[in-house]
C-alpha cells in the first residue's frame, strides 16, 4: 500500500485537535498537582460546569438580544467566574481540611466530589444532551483547508499554545507564580517567608478552573453539545495526558496531550478505532517504563 500523505496530514490534524483538547484540560490538572500534589478528579467536572454556565449565560443574553460578540465576551466572563468559584469552593470544602491527612484520603474525597458535582448538574439542569451554541465562526481564510480541518480545530490549536505560553509566563515571572513554585517545593518554608499558602493554593485552583472553563467553552462549541457527563471522560484522558507528559510540568501537559491525541488518531486511521484506547494506554505504559516520571517530568530524587 502506498503512503497517502494527504491522509497522513488529515490524521495528523485530527490528532492535533484531540491532543490540544486533552492538553487544555490537562494544564489545570498539572497545575494543581504540581502545587498541592493532589489528583483533582473534580477538575473534569469544573470544565463541565464552565461549559454549562456559558450555555446558560449565552442563552440568557441571546434572549435579551445582545449582539454575538458581546454575548460571547460576557458569557465567557461568566463561565470563568463561576468555574473559578466552583474550583475555589471545592478546594475549601473537600481538599483543604485534608491537607495533612493520609495521601489517599484527598483522592477519595476528590472522587466523591466528582460524583457529587455530576449529579448536582444532572439534577439541577438536565440528564439530556443540550445543543451548544457555535462560538467559533467559519473563517474565510481557512476555506481551502476545510476538508482537512475546520476553523474550530484551528482556534483550539491556537488557544492551547497561547494558554500554555500565558501559564508558563505566570509561573515563571509573576510574584504569584513564584510563590506558587515556592509553595510547591517547600510548603513550610514558603510560610516562613510570609507567603500565605492558603491564598496561593486558592489562586492555583482558580487559575486552573478558569482554564478549564475556557477549555469547556471551546471544546463544547467544537462538539456542539454538552451533557453532565462530558467532564468525567475528558478528565480521565486529560489526566492520562498530564501523567504522560510528566505531571507537574506545564509544557509536559501539552506534550502529553498531543502524544495521546496523535496516538489515538493514528491508531484509528491506520488500525481500528475500536482499539484506540488500548493504543493510547499501551503507549502510556511503554513510555512510563522507559521514562518513569513521564516525558518531561523531573525524576523524583529519592529521599533517604
Amino acid at each position: 500500500m502506498h503512503f497517502d500523505s494527504q491522509y497522513f496530514i488529515e490524521l495528523f490534524a485530527s490528532g492535533l485537535t484531540k491532543g490540544s483538547i486533552y492538553a487544555l484540560i490537562a494544564l489545570g490538572y498539572t497545575m494543581v498537582y504540581g502545587i498541592v500534589g493532589l489528583i483533582n478528579f473534580a477538575h473534569g467536572e469544573i470544565y463541565m460546569i464552565g461549559a454549562f454556565v456559558f450555555f446558560l449565560a449565552s442563552s440568557l443574553l441571546t434572549v435579551l438580544g445582545l449582539p454575538m460578540w458581546a454575548m460571547i465576551c460576557i458569557a465567557t466572563a461568566a463561565s470563568i467566574f463561576w468555574a473559578g468559584g466552583y474550583g475555589y469552593t471545592v478546594e475549601k470544602i473537600a481538599y483543604k481540611p485534608l491537607r495533612n491527612a493520609p495521601r489517599l484520603s484527598p483522592l477519595i474525597s476528590a472522587i466523591g466530589m466528582s460524583v457529587f458535582l455530576q449529579n448536582y448538574v444532572m439534577l439541577g439542569q438536565t440528564e439530556k444532551y443540550l445543543g451548544f451554541p457555535e462560538v467559533i465562526p467559519e473563517f474565510d481564510f481557512l476555506e481551502p483547508f476545510a476538508s482537512t480541518f475546520s476553523s474550530s480545530d484551528f482556534v483550539i490549536w491556537v488557544t492551547t499554545v497561547i494558554v500554555m505560553l500565558i501559564l508558563t509566563w505566570i509561573i515563571k515571572f509573576t510574584r504569584t507564580g513564584k510563590a506558587m513554585r515556592a509553595t510547591a517545593q517547600d510548603r513550610t518554608m514558603a510560610e516562613l517567608v510570609g507567603i500565605n499558602v492558603n491564598q496561593i493554593i486558592s489562586a492555583t485552583f482558580i487559575i486552573g478552573s478558569a482554564l478549564a472553563a475556557v477549555g469547556g467553552i471551546l471544546i463544547s462549541s467544537h462538539t456542539g453539545s454538552i451533557h453532565y457527563y462530558i467532564g468525567f471522560i475528558a478528565g480521565i484522558k486529560a489526566f492520562t495526558a498530564a501523567v504522560l507528559g510528566g505531571i507537574g510540568s506545564i509544557p509536559g501537559a501539552v506534550l502529553g496531550g498531543l502524544v495521546l491525541g496523535m496516538a489515538e488518531s493514528f491508531a484509528t486511521g491506520y488500525f481500528s478505532s475500536a482499539y484506540e484506547d488500548v493504543f493510547a494506554f499501551s503507549l502510556l505504559v511503554l513510555i512510563l517504563i522507559f521514562r518513569p516520571a513521564g516525558l518531561l517530568g523531573r525524576a523524583e530524587t529519592e529521599k533517604v
Partner: protein, 375 residues
C-alpha cells in the same frame, strides 16, 4: 469547631448493617407493577419517560376504581442501564412481589434479568429493549415488547439504502454499545445476503470521545456513499457535524437511537438530510395526541424517548390483566396474544414469541429541523 462525629460513622455502619428495610407487604389488594430502567445516569432520558407513562396510566386506572377493584401500585427501580445493577433491581422487585414489570430500558440489562423473572413467572413488557434474541430465541415465554426488534429495523434501513438511495459502498459504524452493535450486526448480514452493495469500512467508535475527526477522515478515505451508524444521538451528532464541516456529502443513515429532537437541537444545521429509522410515526393518531397532552398536563413538558412505546405497553398490560381477571402469567400472556388493543401506536397485538404486531419501522429524513417520514 469540633464536630461530635468521630464515632458516628461507625454507628452509621452498624445501622446500615442491621436496619432491615420493612418486609414487603404481600397482600393481594393491589396490583403491583414494577418499572425498571435507567432513571438516573447517562441514559436516564431513555428510561424516565417510561416511568412517567406508567404513572399517568396507573393514575387514570386508579381514578376509575382500578382493575376489577384492585388499585395499581407502581414500584420504580433504577438500573442505570447497567446489567449488574439491573440484577439487583430485578431481585428487589421480585422480593417486593410485583405482578408484572414494564422494562427494562436497555437490551443488555434486560437479557441479564430475564432468567430471574422467568424463574418466578413474572410478566415483562419492555418498551425499548430491541435485541432480537429476547423474543426470537423463544427462551422467555414471559417476555413481550412494544418495540420492533433490531433486525426488523436493520432490514428497513438496508432496504432504504439499497432501493431508495441506491448506494454501492457502505461504511458501517457502531458505538460499541449493545444496541448499536447488534443493529449493525443485522444490517451487515442483510447487506451480505443482498449482495448489491459492498461494505468498505467497519468500525466501532469510542462513546463520549471529544473528537471524531480521525474516524471521519477514514470514512472519507473509504469513499463510501453511505454511512450506516448504529448507536445513539450524542456520538452521531458529533460525527455528522464533523463530516459536514469537512464538506463531505456522504449520506448518514442511522437507527431510532438518533431519531430524537435532541439530535437536531445539537447538530443544528448539520442535521439536515440525515436519515433515521424509527417506529412508524403515529403522532397523528388521536390516542397518541391524547397521551402526549396528558404528559404535558402532568409534567409540563414534552414527553421523551419511548414514551409512546411505554404508554402502549401499559395500556396492553392493563387491558390483559383486566380481560384475564388475574395477574397469573399464563392467563395474562394469553390475553396479550389474543386481544387486539387500540393504542397510541395503532392496533397492537402480540405474536407467539412476544413481538408486537402492528408496530413497524419507517425511515425519516431531517428537513428544516424536523424529522419527516419518508414514504
Amino acid at each position: 469547631m469540633k464536630f461530635p462525629l468521630r464515632n458516628s460513622a461507625f454507628f452509621m455502619a452498624a445501622c446500615c448493617l442491621f436496619a432491615f428495610a420493612p418486609a414487603a407487604a404481600s397482600a393481594g389488594d393491589t396490583i403491583k407493577i414494577g418499572v425498571a430502567g435507567a432513571h438516573s445516569g447517562q441514559l436516564a432520558s431513555y428510561g424516565l419517560p417510561t416511568l412517567k407513562a406508567v404513572q399517568i396510566i396507573a393514575e387514570q386506572v386508579n381514578a376509575k376504581g382500578g382493575i376489577h377493584g384492585k388499585k395499581i401500585e407502581v414500584l420504580s427501580e433504577d438500573d442505570l442501564c447497567k446489567p449488574e445493577i439491573a440484577v439487583n433491581s430485578a431481585k428487589k422487585l421480585i422480593s417486593d412481589g410485583v405482578d408484572a414489570v414494564i422494562g427494562h430500558t436497555c437490551s443488555g440489562p434486560t437479557s441479564a434479568v430475564m432468567p430471574l423473572y422467568k424463574e418466578k413467572s413474572i410478566l415483562v413488557i419492555s418498551p425499548s429493549a430491541t435485541t432480537p434474541g429476547l423474543t426470537k430465541d423463544k427462551e422467555y415465554p414471559n417476555f413481550f415488547r412494544t418495540v420492533a426488534p433490531d433486525d426488523a429495523q436493520a432490514q428497513v434501513d438496508v432496504d432504504f439504502i439499497l432501493d431508495t438511495l441506491g448506494a454501492k459502498k457502505i461504511a458501517l459504524l457502531d458505538d460499541k454499545g449493545d444496541y448499536g452493535k447488534s443493529f449493525i450486526h443485522f444490517a451487515k448480514e442483510q447487506f451480505e445476503k443482498d449482495g448489491r452493495a459492498k461494505i468498505v469500512l467497519e468500525e466501532g467508535i469510542t462513546q463520549g470521545a471529544v473528537d471524531y475527526s480521525a474516524i471521519v477522515q477514514k470514512i472519507k478515505r473509504s469513499q463510501a456513499d453511505v454511512v450506516l451508524y448504529g448507536g445513539y444521538h450524542p456520538e452521531a451528532s458529533k460525527i455528522v457535524t464533523t463530516m459536514r464541516k469537512k464538506r463531505m456529502k456522504t449520506y448518514f443513515v442511522s437507527d431510532d437511537g438518533i431519531r430524537v429532537q435532541t439530535f437536531i437541537d445539537v447538530a443544528k444545521k448539520y442535521a439536515e438530510g440525515v436519515y433515521a429509522s424509527s417506529s412508524k410515526d403515529t403522532t397523528s393518531n388521536p390516542l397518541a395526541i391524547k397521551a402526549i397532552e396528558e404528559h404535558k398536563k402532568k409534567f409540563g413538558s414534552e414527553p421523551g424517548e419511548f414514551y409512546l412505546n411505554a404508554y402502549t405497553a401499559m395500556i396492553v398490560l392493563v387491558n390483559a390483566i383486566d380481560k384475564a381477571d388475574s395477574t397469573e402469567l399464563s392467563a395474562v400472556a394469553k390475553a396479550l396474544r389474543s386481544e387486539v388493543v387500540a393504542t397510541p401506536m395503532g392496533n397492537v397485538s402480540f405474536d407467539e414469541v412476544g413481538d408486537a404486531t402492528g408496530i413497524g419501522y419507517a425511515v425519516s429524513k431531517v428537513v428544516d429541523g424536523k424529522f419527516v417520514e419518508q414514504k
